[in-house]
Structure formats: structure tokens, C-alpha cells
């Protein structure tokens, strides 16, 4: 990005500065640490100059927002035109309680919804299944049928507000609940907007809430891609997620590399099925973590956009919409401390700021109490206000990609891209993403990083304020969310009534039809939708597919 003559001059001056200025200063006042490393263990120099990014070509490698390679942002106007969607991941107890929480959040200025489901729902079990014992509504809302979905969104304008749903193994079915509910309310599926996470590869790798083995899972996902662009065109049919990979303990580089690798794998499967890349690629979306290392996180988002654009082009995408990587961000739950919980507000602020400076399209800010329980109303309101302050007060939204061109940021972006390609090669040598999962490659890499991080904290080489430095012996002082204890009882009764009241012959017909289609190759979505409309429950629908597809079992590696 610099003329050769100018660069030579900078080099001479830099060498002079190191010899005659910096090294003397270090002698007088030694640096605080022997080495400075970011969270991916990359060595960080004391200073970056134009020399570090001399190899970059502005037009080819950096460019302009809304133009290839989308490094500086996916849209030409970014936050000057429209702010990111403020979308708080939320759900607990019964559909009634969560519906109230959604209304509360919308009343306080939230601009999108995001559903957290409880564990039985994530595994495709109804609330009254024996394996659901103790889990009802604990880490999300329990949704076992269309009836629950109706309650979850009652009095919420789903024709206007978009909804993201963190659901993977049974994503197609839960999405069908949402579509069916819209249809029953007279809202066309052609206009509803939102996202299903639907990313099974990272389930095997990190989040571990799967149902079926890889092959049928991938088929279901491609079914949703196809059904989506044809019938529900404003829906993001996948949110390819690094968030959980990071939460499981990966570094930022591993998060970046494994997520993009998963994304490309989905594209390959869809193309292999005969879908046209420019038909489905515009509805692919991403989801990243925002962890503690401020600049590393910003560089990660920027690198992700450039790598995705390059790789999609290589796979034959022509439309700009297919090349640009839109993403949601959530601040790092694993970085929150149970000690001095109020200081988590500060962590979240820094992390959210990194996401915004990295050009996110949508953001969840964690609540200060999440290392202890699900967030209380007050805690989640402060978390939402944090985003609103960044958006409305800080001024960081006034210009696009304000850190672009920083010697350090551009160098780091480039470095992360390089390391990502190194991982791509490793995975390819293992035979691709699914064979690498089956060999435990990702799982082992993540477990290694997680253990190293914990050791650094235990050995005091990594500081976590309140945990291994600046500690206090204080009593816990923040209120904890209490759930309605009658919720489970209500839900179980609702299920019983639903199974009794529905048109049994219609139900039987649709369920046996689904089974037949599952045994063949046709797109399953229309048949799932029929089942859901006849009030088949989540568990019943998944059981049919379990029977045909089998279930996934993972090897235990630590």
C-alpha cells in the first residue's frame, strides 16, 4: 500500500528508532512481560508500521465496503444507514414466561428476537420424555409443539420483527412450528424473516446437542436450504457458528478456521445435491464470539469476511450477495466471572465494542449474572443498554470500519487469515470436515486450548480480574432469576390435551407419510410442515426420523 521509496525511508527511521530510542528506553524501564501474546498465542510486537502491511494491495486485499473482498464491511453504508439488530438470546421456563420476557425486551428497545430452547427441545424430546427429567425450562424455553410456539409469539408482530432460533438437530421441525404459526395467523411465509442455527457440524465439534448421524443431518440441512430460498426467501436457513467452538475453549484462530471450514462444507453438500450456489448462498449467515482480546476479535471478523468472499468465488459464486458474510455476534459467556459479577458489565462492553468495530450485523450482549444463573430482568436490561450506549453515544458508528488501515489491525487480519488456511490444509489432509470430526481432530484441538487457558489462569500467567488478581471476599449481592415452578406441570398438561384433542387420522396419515419420504430422497420440509400442522409434537416427529436415520454417538475425548 506504500511506494517503495517511502517504505525504505520508513525502514531506516524504524531501525534508527529501535537502536537509539526504544532499546534505551527498555533498558531504563524493562517491559512488564517477557513476551506479549494474544489469546491465540501469536507474538505481538511493540510497534507496527507501514512495513508490516507493505505487501497488501489496497484494491485487491482491502477495498471498499459493500465490494469484494468485503473486508471493510458487507454494506456500502454500514451503521450510518442502519444499526445492527439488537437481539438478546433469551428463553426460560414455559412459553408464557418467555413471551413476557420478549415483550419486556421489545419495550426496552430491542430490535430482534432470539430464542433459547431448553435441553429436551434441543435434543428433540417432549417435556414429558424420561430423559427430560430436571431439565424443563432450565437453560431455555420448552417448545414441544405448535401450540407452545403459538403462545411463545402471542401478541408479537412476527410479520415485522425477525426471530433467530438457536436450534440444530431438530431445526427443520422447530422452523416448521414457526412457519405454521405464521400461516395460522394469516402471515405469508414469503415475508417472515429470521434465522435458524441449523449448524450440525459445530454440534459434533463443540456444542454437543445433536440427534442424527452426519449424513442424514446434512440432508436435512440441505432440505432447509432448498425449501428456504424457494418458499421462505427472507429466512437465513443456517447460522454457521463459531460461538460454541470458542465457548468450548478454542482460540480465536481455531474459531475462525473451523467455522469457515464448516461453512464451506455445507456449500459443497448443497452443490453436490444439485442446488445452484447463487440460489442458496445469499441466505447463509454466520455467528461469532466476542472474547477478551479486543484487537484480535476485530481482526477475526474482518479476516472472516475476506476469506469467505475469496472461497465462495472459488466455488463458483457470482452474485455479490453470495460472497458477503453477514454475522451475528455474542459476547463470550465463558469470559464472565462468578466473582464480583458486576464487573462483567465492563467485560461485555469491551467485547461488544469489538463486535461493532468488526462490523457485526446483529449483537447479543451477555448479562452480568450469567456465570451464576439465567439473567434477571435488571441484568438483561443493563446488557441491552450497553449496546444502546455504543450505538447512540460513543460515536464509533459514524464512519465505516474505523480501524481499517491501522498497521496492527491489518497485519493481524492478514496473519489470522494465513493461520486459517493452515488449518484448512490440515483438515483436508484428514479427509475433510466430517472425517476430521470422526477422528476427534477438532475436539482434541479445542480441549488442548481449553486446558492451556485454564492452566495459564491457575498459574497466574493470564490475569482474570476478580479470579486470580484483585480478589475480594464478598458476599454475592445480585438477585438471581427464579422461575415459575408450576410451568412444567402446565406444559405437561398442555401436551396431554393436545395429543387427545387433535385429529388422530390426519396425524397418523402425516406421520406415516413423513416416514416414507425420510426413507427416500425427497425434500422433507413440506412433509414436516404437514405433521406440525396436524399438531404432531417435536418428540413424535423426531422419533420418526430417529427410526429411519439412527442416532449419533460420540467418542469421549479429553
Amino acid at each position: 500500500m506504500y511506494e517503495k521509496k517511502g517504505l525504505n525511508k520508513i525502514k531506516d527511521k524504524r531501525v534508527d528508532w529501535e537502536k537509539n530510542c526504544h532499546s534505551k528506553a527498555v533498558k531504563n524501564r524493562p517491559e512488564r512481560k517477557k513476551k506479549f501474546e494474544n489469546l491465540s498465542a501469536s507474538q505481538i510486537k511493540s510497534l507496527y508500521t507501514p512495513e508490516d502491511i507493505a505487501h497488501l494491495d489496497y484494491d485487491k486485499d482491502v477495498g471498499f465496503p459493500g465490494k469484494y473482498p468485503f473486508l471493510r464491511g458487507v454494506y456500502p453504508t454500514m451503521y450510518r444507514g442502519q444499526l445492527w439488530t439488537m437481539r438478546q438470546f433469551s428463553g426460560f421456563g414455559s412459553a408464557e414466561e418467555t413471551n413476557n420476557r420478549y415483550k419486556y425486551l421489545l419495550d426496552h428497545g430491542e430490535t430482534g428476537l432470539s430464542v433459547a430452547f431448553d435441553y429436551p427441545t434441543l435434543y428433540g424430546y417432549d417435556t414429558d420424555h424420561p430423559l427430560a427429567r430436571g431439565e424443563f425450562g432450565k437453560c431455555g424455553v420448552a417448545i414441544s409443539s405448535l401450540k407452545d410456539m403459538e403462545i411463545l409469539f402471542s401478541d408479537i408482530p412476527i410479520d415485522k420483527v425477525t426471530t433467530s432460533m438457536t436450534i440444530n438437530g431438530p431445526a427443520a421441525i422447530v422452523w416448521a412450528f414457526y412457519i405454521a404459526n405464521a400461516e395460522n395467523r394469516g402471515i405469508s411465509k414469503g415475508i417472515i424473516g429470521g434465522t435458524i442455527q441449523n449448524d450440525i457440524l459445530k454440534e459434533y465439534i463443540a456444542q454437543k446437542s445433536w440427534i442424527f448421524p452426519p449424513e442424514p443431518s446434512m440432508r436435512l440441512i440441505v432440505d432447509t436450504f432448498e425449501y428456504g430460498f424457494k418458499e421462505v426467501p427472507r429466512w437465513n436457513t443456517i447460522s454457521i457458528s463459531g460461538y460454541h467452538i470458542r465457548e468450548a475453549g478454542s482460540t480465536a484462530i481455531q474459531e475462525l478456521a473451523f467455522t469457515l471450514g464448516d461453512g464451506l462444507e455445507y456449500v459443497r453438500w448443497a452443490v453436490k445435491r444439485g442446488l445452484k450456489i447463487d440460489d442458496f448462498a445469499p441466505r447463509l449467515s454466520f455467528f461469532f464470539n466476542a472474547h477478551n482480546d479486543f484487537f484480535e476479535e476485530i481482526a477475526k471478523y474482518r479476516a472472516a469476511r475476506r476469506i469467505w468472499a475469496k472461497e465462495m468465488k472459488k466455488l463458483g459464486a457470482k452474485k455479490d450477495r453470495s460472497l458477503l458474510m453477514r454475522f451475528h455476534t455474542q459476547t463470550a459467556g465463558c469470559s464472565l466471572t462468578a466473582q464480583q459479577p458486576e464487573i462483567n458489565i465492563v467485560r461485555v462492553t469491551m467485547q461488544a465494542l469489538a463486535a461493532v468495530l468488526g462490523g457485526t450485523q446483529s449483537l447479543h450482549t451477555n448479562s452480568m449474572d450469567e456465570a451464576l444463573a439465567l439473567p434477571s430482568e435488571k441484568a438483561v436490561r443493563i446488557a441491552l443498554r450497553t449496546q444502546q450506549i455504543i450505538a447512540e453515544e460513543s460515536g464509533v458508528t459514524d464512519t465505516i470500519d474505523p480501524l481499517g488501515g491501522s498497521y496492527y489491525i491489518e497485519w493481524l487480519t492478514d496473519k489470522m487469515e494465513e493461520e486459517t488456511y493452515r488449518y484448512f490444509e490440515k483438515v483436508e489432509r484428514l479427509g475433510g470436515v466430517i472425517p476430521a470430526i470422526e477422528k476427534g481432530f477438532f475436539q482434541r484441538e479445542i480441549a488442548e486450548s481449553a486446558y492451556k487457558y485454564q492452566k495459564e489462569i491457575d498459574e497466574n500467567t493470564r490475569t482474570i480480574v476478580g479470579v486470580n488478581k484483585h480478589k475480594m471476599d464478598e458476599e454475592l449481592s445480585i438477585p438471581i432469576l427464579k422461575m415459575d415452578e408450576k410451568g412444567e406441570h402446565r406444559q405437561v398438561n398442555r401436551l396431554k390435551k393436545l395429543r387427545k384433542d387433535r385429529d388422530q387420522s390426519k396425524f397418523d396419515r402425516n406421520i406415516s407419510c413423513l416416514k416414507k419420504v425420510a426413507e427416500g430422497n425427497d425434500n422433507l420440509m413440506p412433509y414436516i410442515l404437514d405433521c406440525v400442522h396436524s399438531y404432531a409434537t417435536l418428540g413424535e416427529t423426531c422419533d420418526v426420523l430417529r427410526e429411519v436415520f439412527g442416532e449419533y454417538v460420540e467418542p469421549a475425548i479429553y
Binding site: 435441553y119 427430560a132 454437543k208 468450548a248 466471572t337 451464576l372 480441549a447 486446558y451 486470580n468 469421549a556
Partner: protein, 131 residues
């Protein structure tokens, strides 16, 4: 030679958060204990069955889904039924302060929340294990 402390690290229920369990499994192994980790999605019956088969001294339960009041106490109940109260039970995860007294009463001897030094857990086990 003294027999090594045998620990079963277990994830009861549907919770998939296994970062902590894996770290604890390694930390206990590095501290010289014999560790059995049975992976995810264990029913409480499976956990107690493994504890019998593997003749462990300690069961270390990890749960971040919020179902600890049900699932941890299911384990201690089953241990009582099988007259295995000499097995030390500890637990970790996202556990609110208010729940701790009841869990201790039910027989979960140590509760370790986020931010606990792994050495604290090692010391606790060495001090409280019955052999």
C-alpha cells in the same frame, strides 16, 4: 504402594457443556489420580452403575444446564440405595449460591463454581476421600 484415587468424571442429563468436565478430568489425572470419563448424556443410573463397576472413590459431576437440583440429588439417592455412601461426590458448574446448602445436605460434599482453581478441587478430593 498406595492405590491411586479413582475418580469418575460424569456429565448427567442432556447438558452438552463439556469444557469444564474435560479440564477437570485432565487436571485430576495430572495430579496423579485415575480418571474415568464416560462422555456426555449419562443418565444418573448409568453414572452410579459405572461407579460400581469401576470401583471409584469419587464421583465428580459437572452440569451447566441448571438441572443440578434434580440430577445431582438423584445420584446421591441412588448411591444411598446401593449403600455406597463412602463414595465422595463433588459437583461443579453454573450453580447459584442459594442452591448449595440443599445440595450439601443431599450428600454433594463439595460444590465448585466458575473460577475455581483446579488445585482447590484436587486438595479437596485428597482431603475428603474415604479409602
Amino acid at each position: 504402594m498406595e492405590r491411586k484415587i479413582r475418580v469418575l468424571v460424569a456429565k448427567p442429563g442432556l447438558d452438552g457443556h463439556d469444557r469444564g468436565a474435560k479440564i477437570i478430568a485432565r487436571a485430576l489425572r495430572d495430579a496423579g489420580m485415575e480418571v474415568i470419563y464416560t462422555g456426555l448424556h449419562q443418565t444418573t443410573e448409568m453414572i452410579v452403575e459405572t461407579a460400581v463397576q469401576e470401583d471409584v472413590n469419587v464421583i465428580a459431576l459437572s452440569l451447566l444446564s441448571g438441572a443440578h437440583m434434580t440430577l445431582f440429588t438423584d445420584v446421591t439417592k441412588l448411591l444411598k440405595e446401593k449403600k455406597m455412601e463412602d463414595v465422595l461426590v463433588v459437583g461443579g458448574g453454573v450453580i447459584p449460591e442459594d442452591d448449595i446448602p440443599e445440595l450439601k445436605k443431599a450428600g454433594v460434599s463439595g460444590i465448585f463454581g466458575p473460577g475455581t482453581h483446579t488445585e482447590t478441587i484436587v486438595k479437596f478430593i485428597k482431603k475428603n476421600v474415604k479409602r
